[in-house]
Each structure stands twice: as structure tokens, then as C-alpha cells.
């Protein structure tokens, strides 16, 4: 199948007078049409920065792409002019934002907010009436009665607002949808409804999705491929089965799984990762995870690990740089 998005060795920094934040450090991945890729990581891992980079929405004053390319449909997003970007954004790539409470404009009706994308990307020269009709169809699609299109965001509950945000993202039939923690602000029963809806719509329209989340449960239910991010790097990348079963993992992935209380197994203690995320202005030399890693060796403190790969399953760790020496 066609590759829709390809990111090669992308690095992004935020530079201010006082300090430089190394937010994304050399990540690469690709996404085919209709696939869902999960980006998992904790706060500050660089997930959202990656997403904003793909959309060309990085803050101009501070953010710099220092290396790499983001190829969307063969074109480099980083080198596009603002006008070209405007044509891509919202029409071909769109985003579902994390917090439905603040992502909507409180003084516009939901109908006009959904219609806005159609007005701006009106290549087919739809008439006012046709646009209204598309808005109504999209509302029904996300499970909101079309009679409610003239209501304001405050009249909707959190779950319903997230549906409106999804409707805005989907109204132009984008090729790529970036969902940035789409269900974090919602209750579990509503989360289940929204996730099912995103998956159904994706299958219907063949959209590719990047699902940004910190919840491994959400990943297991929606994603085909998974990238685990830590301190701006993808430390492990593979198919869902590689990450969730498989017998070789990055120590950070193991730590993440050890931190979740299990619903089925009895255990009195969790096995968390000790310590904290490194300060992104002063990243450690060598492996970024070394200071918290239980398997840390001498070499980890001084040299960046290379990528170990087997059938597309990639791990960035010194434990696996030479497969013959792997001890478990």
C-alpha cells in the first residue's frame, strides 16, 4: 500500500534566550494508507511536538526543525510555504485536540465551526446550501442529531464536544488524522464510545491515523503499529504484537508495562521506573534512559545506542546492539 507519511531523522528544538529544549531527537517512522500508528510516551516525551511538526504548526519564534524531513504525499512539509501549508492543513491532514473543553470557540455555533473548514477548502465550489448539508451529514456521522447544529459549545457535554471536534476534523475527508490524546479528558464509558467511533470512521474512509496517547490500553484497542517515545526519541517501534508480546523489549517499555496495575493478575506491588524524565534542556550523554535504567552498563553512559532491528521491530538499546551477546 501507498506510504502516506514518512518522517526521516526528524529533530526539533525550542530555542529561547535562556535555554534550548531538545524536544524531538532524530525520529523516523512511516505510515501507510489506512494504518493506525500509536505514539506512546509520558509528558514531555515529544509526542505533541512531533504532531505539530507534521502539521507545520510549530511556534515560529522558538521552534526550529534542525534536521530531517517530513514527507507527506512525497512533499516536505517543513519546506512548504505558509500558503501551501494552509491548503494541506484541515483538508488533507487534520487534528483532534486533547481538550474538547478549550478546543472550540465558545461564541460560534457548532454548525458554523464545522462549516468553517468547508468554506476555507472549497475546491468543489459548494454552495451555501450544499455546505449546510455536508455539516448536517457530518454531525449525524459522529452521532449528534442534526437539529443541534445551531447550538453553542456550552450546551454540550464533554463527550459531545469531543464529537464536535472530531466532526470538524473529518468534514473534509482528510487522508491523515492526528488524534492527540482524544479521550484523556473523558470518562471510561464515553472513551469507549469515542474510540469505537474513530475506528469505525477510519475503516469507512480509509484514513490513516496517528494516535497520540499515554494509555497502553487505548493503543492495544486501536493501533496497528506502535512507537514508544522517551525524551524525544522513539526507543522501540514495531507492530502491536511486537510491542505487547515479543520477548525483546526496551527496558523503558518493560518499565511502562510494569507500572500499570493489572486487572487480572494479583500483585501487591507495582514495579515502577525509578527516577524522573531527564531535563530536556540537559539531556544525558549516551542513552537518554541510562540514568533510570536497571540494565544500565558502562557503555550506555557515554555512547548513543544504535538501532537493533528484526523484521521491522526496532529497539534503540545497547543490550541488543549485538544480537549474539544478548542476555536475558
Amino acid at each position: 500500500m501507498e506510504e502516506i507519511l514518512k518522517i526521516e531523522d526528524l529533530s526539533i528544538i525550542y530555542k529561547t534566550d535562556l535555554e534550548t529544549v531538545y524536544a524531538v531527537n532524530g525520529i523516523s517512522f512511516s505510515l501507510k494508507q489506512g494504518e493506525t500508528m500509536g505514539l506512546v510516551g509520558e509528558t514531555g516525551a515529544g509526542k505533541t511536538t512531533t504532531a505539530l511538526g507534521v502539521l507545520g504548526l510549530l511556534p515560529k519564534r522558538t521552534a526550529r526543525v534542525t534536521s530531517g524531513r517530513i514527507l507527506f504525499d512525497g512533499q516536505d512539509v517543513c519546506r512548504m510555504k505558509e500558503q501551501e501549508l494552509e491548503r494541506v492543513r484541515g483538508e488533507k491532514i487534520s487534528m483532534i485536540f486533547q481538550d474538547p473543553m478549550t478546543a472550540l470557540n465558545p461564541v460560534l455555533t457548532v454548525g458554523s465551526q464545522i462549516g468553517e473548514a468547508l468554506y476555507l477548502h472549497n475546491d468543489a465550489e459548494l454552495s451555501q446550501k450544499e455546505i449546510e448539508q455536508r455539516v448536517e451529514e457530518t454531525l449525524e456521522l459522529v452521532g449528534i442529531p442534526k437539529e443541534r447544529k445551531n447550538e453553542y459549545p456550552y450546551q454540550f457535554s464533554g463527550g459531545m464536544r469531543q464529537r464536535v471536534v472530531i466532526a470538524i476534523a473529518l468534514v473534509c475527508n482528510p487522508k491523515l488524522l492526528i488524534a492527540d490524546e482524544p479521550t484523556t479528558a473523558l470518562d471510561v464509558t464515553i472513551q469507549a464510545q469515542i474510540l469505537t467511533m474513530i475506528c469505525d470512521l477510519q475503516r469507512k474512509y480509509g484514513t490513516s491515523v496517528i494516535m497520540i496517547t499515554h494509555d497502553l490500553g487505548v493503543v492495544a484497542e486501536t493501533c496497528d503499529k506502535v512507537g514508544i517515545m522517551y525524551a524525544g526519541e522513539i526507543v522501540e517501534y514495531g507492530t502491536l504484537a511486537d510491542i505487547f508480546t515479543g520477548d525483546r523489549h526496551h527496558p523503558y517499555t518493560e518499565g511502562l508495562f510494569g507500572s500499570i496495575p493489572s486487572l487480572t493478575e494479583e500483585s501487591r506491588r507495582l514495579h515502577p521506573i525509578e527516577g524522573l524524565m531527564p531535563d530536556p534542556t540537559k539531556l544525558p550523554e549516551g542513552c537518554k534512559f541510562a540514568p533510570r535504567c536497571a540494565k544500565c552498563m558502562e557503555i550506555c553512559k557515554s555512547r548513543q545506542p544504535g538501532v537493533w532491528e528484526e523484521n521491522g521491530h526496532q529497539i534503540r538499546c545497547h543490550c541488543y546492539s549485538n544480537p549474539a551477546e544478548v542476555k536475558r
Binding site: E42, T43, A192, C199, A220, F244, L263, P272, L276
Partner: protein, 316 residues
């Protein structure tokens, strides 16, 4: 049988709103034995936090009794209540909002000691602060730092230190880990469980995260719109949920394993209805796939379905 530390009977808390009476907590009873953890789960707006705060008398209950060591705390005089207050403490949800940004870590942790006039000298206060900082895993070099310099996990440790410095017996933990990342969340959960063992604490643990509540609780209460819909031992409720809401809640949790990919789940439709002037009958009836007219007629009391396992549903 161990001693019952906290016994809550028919607790009600209504708030007056322009639209009518909001039934935040409606006729909830439970008891917690000493040294055990009671978990309260439910979706936002179901009255979990109000329950926790009312149990600590931070809100005046509309009706019902709260017995602490067998004494009704509502009937105590102001002076007697002040003697009991240090024994009942709370850990708040948001470590970013619950600390005064103008106080240092040391001042923040010492504040409960000063308010309650526990220590006779400054040195005694400092010693106590040092000891509790060590207990909750805060390095002593952080004593002069301000909260904004610290990350969420460390701030939550300050919140825990503030709650524990008065040697309480009973602590209400209101979503203590929901604002934290998973790896930090696990550190804090382990800390809370270690402290319970060391100090013999009794917890009322409020959360919306079912895997967390299963991990830490001895007994679990599931709430829906101010009502307790199911109440049982932690293992029992996960092994054998009875109430349709509990079942739906458990089915909604995304499970981190490969088998769950694209798995069709049974979803409950709709959303939580308004808690303002609720109609009689089962509160869950509007979303329940098994609801009949009889469910909407009258309130359904808790029924014992197995020893120690209670559920409020007509079907059981």
C-alpha cells in the same frame, strides 16, 4: 473482626442550585475497618469527591451520620471536633493547584503543625518536617524549594507529607494519582501502600481508574449519580459484577494486551443524566439496556446477592 474506624450511615448531601436541588450524594452507607482501604469509583459528577469531603465534615451533610471511632462527629462541640480533625486528613487531586506557590516546601509541610499548635519549639517542628520528608521520599535539599520548581510526582509527595504529618488515622485520597504519568503514578501508589503498612492508615480512596482501585482497595463501592449501586470486596466485584452499570464500566476499560485489537465491546449508550431533582427509580434506568417500567417507579434498595456483596438492581 477488626474495629470499625469510620461508619457512615444514610449520608446525604444536596446542593442548592438555581435549577433545583442537586443530589450529589444520596443515601450512601458504608463502613471501613481500621487499616483497610475502601475504594470509591464512578464517572465524573457521580458524587465521589463530595462523598469524601462530606465524610471529613468539609461539607455539612444534609442528612445522615458519620461515626468516627463510634462517635458522631456532627454532634461534637467545636473544641472536641478540633481534637479529632488532625486524625482525619485528605490528599487532594491536583498537585499543581493545591499548594500555595509562595511557600517553600518546608513551610508547606510545617503548616498543619503550626495550625494545630502541635510543637512546642521551632526545633521540634523542623525535626518532624525532616522526618516526614524522609518518609515520603523527598530529598532534604528540596526543603527550601518552591512548588513551581518541582514536578507533579514530587508535588504530590508534598501533599501526602502535609496530610500525614499530624499522624492521622483516616485519610481521604481524592484522585491522588490521576494527574500523574504512569511511571510516577506507580511510584506514588507504592508509597501510599507502604505508608499504610507502616502507620496503620485507613484510606477512603477515590478514583475513576478501575485498575488503580482494584490494585489498592480491599473493598470497592461503585457510585452512579449519588447512589451506591454496588458494594463488595475488591476481588469479588471484578470477578462477579452484578449491576449492569458495573458490568458496563468494567467492559469499557481498554485492556493493554494484543487480544483487544479491534475487539467489539458492548457499549452503554448515552451519558450521565442530570443530578438536579432526579426522578424516582433507578438512576441508571435511562442508559440501562435491561430497564423496565418497574425500574422507573421507585428507588431500588441495596440487596445482598452474596455474603458481603450488595447491589441495587431489580434484576438480582
Amino acid at each position: 473482626m477488626t474495629e470499625i474506624l469510620l461508619d457512615v450511615k444514610n449520608l446525604k448531601k444536596y446542593f442548592k442550585t438555581p435549577a433545583g436541588m442537586l443530589h450529589a450524594v444520596d443515601d450512601v452507607s458504608f463502613s471501613i475497618p481500621k487499616g483497610k482501604t475502601m475504594g470509591v469509583v464512578g464517572e465524573s459528577g457521580c458524587g465521589k469527591s463530595t462523598l469524601g469531603r462530606t465524610a471529613l465534615q468539609l461539607y455539612e451533610p444534609t442528612a445522615g451520620e458519620i461515626l468516627f471511632h463510634g462517635k458522631n462527629i456532627a454532634s461534637l462541640s467545636k473544641k472536641e471536633f478540633h481534637q479529632i480533625r488532625p486524625k482525619m486528613q485528605m490528599i487532594f487531586q491536583d498537585p499543581y493547584a493545591s499548594l500555595n506557590g509562595r511557600m517553600t516546601v518546608r513551610q508547606l509541610i510545617a503548616e498543619p503543625l503550626i495550625v494545630n499548635k502541635v510543637c512546642k519549639s521551632k526545633r521540634e517542628t523542623e525535626e518532624k518536617v525532616d522526618r516526614i520528608m524522609d518518609t515520603v521520599g523527598l530529598a532534604s535539599r528540596l526543603a527550601m524549594a518552591y512548588p513551581h520548581e518541582l514536578d507533579g510526582g514530587r508535588r504530590q509527595r508534598i501533599g501526602i507529607a502535609r496530610a500525614l504529618i499530624l499522624n492521622p488515622e483516616f485519610v481521604v485520597c481524592d484522585e491522588p494519582v490521576s494527574a500523574l504519568d504512569v511511571s510516577i503514578q506507580a511510584q506514588i501508589l507504592n508509597l501510599l501502600m507502604d505508608l499504610q503498612e507502616q502507620m496503620g492508615l485507613t484510606y477512603l480512596f477515590i478514583t475513576h481508574d478501575l485498575s488503580v482501585v482494584r490494585h489498592i482497595s480491599d473493598e470497592i463501592m461503585v457510585m452512579y449519580l449519588g447512589k451506591c449501586v454496588e458494594y463488595a470486596e475488591a476481588k469479588e466485584i471484578f470477578r462477579n459484577p452484578v449491576h449492569p452499570y458495573t458490568k458496563a464500566l468494567l467492559a469499557s476499560i481498554p485492556i493493554p494486551s494484543v487480544e483487544s485489537l479491534h475487539k467489539r465491546r458492548e457499549l452503554i449508550k448515552g451519558e450521565v443524566t442530570s443530578p438536579v431533582n432526579p426522578k424516582p427509580g433507578c438512576r441508571f434506568a435511562a442508559r440501562c439496556p435491561f430497564a423496565s417500567d418497574a425500574c422507573r417507579q421507585e428507588d431500588i434498595p441495596l440487596k445482598e446477592v452474596a455474603p458481603g456483596h450488595f447491589a441495587a438492581c431489580r434484576m438480582v
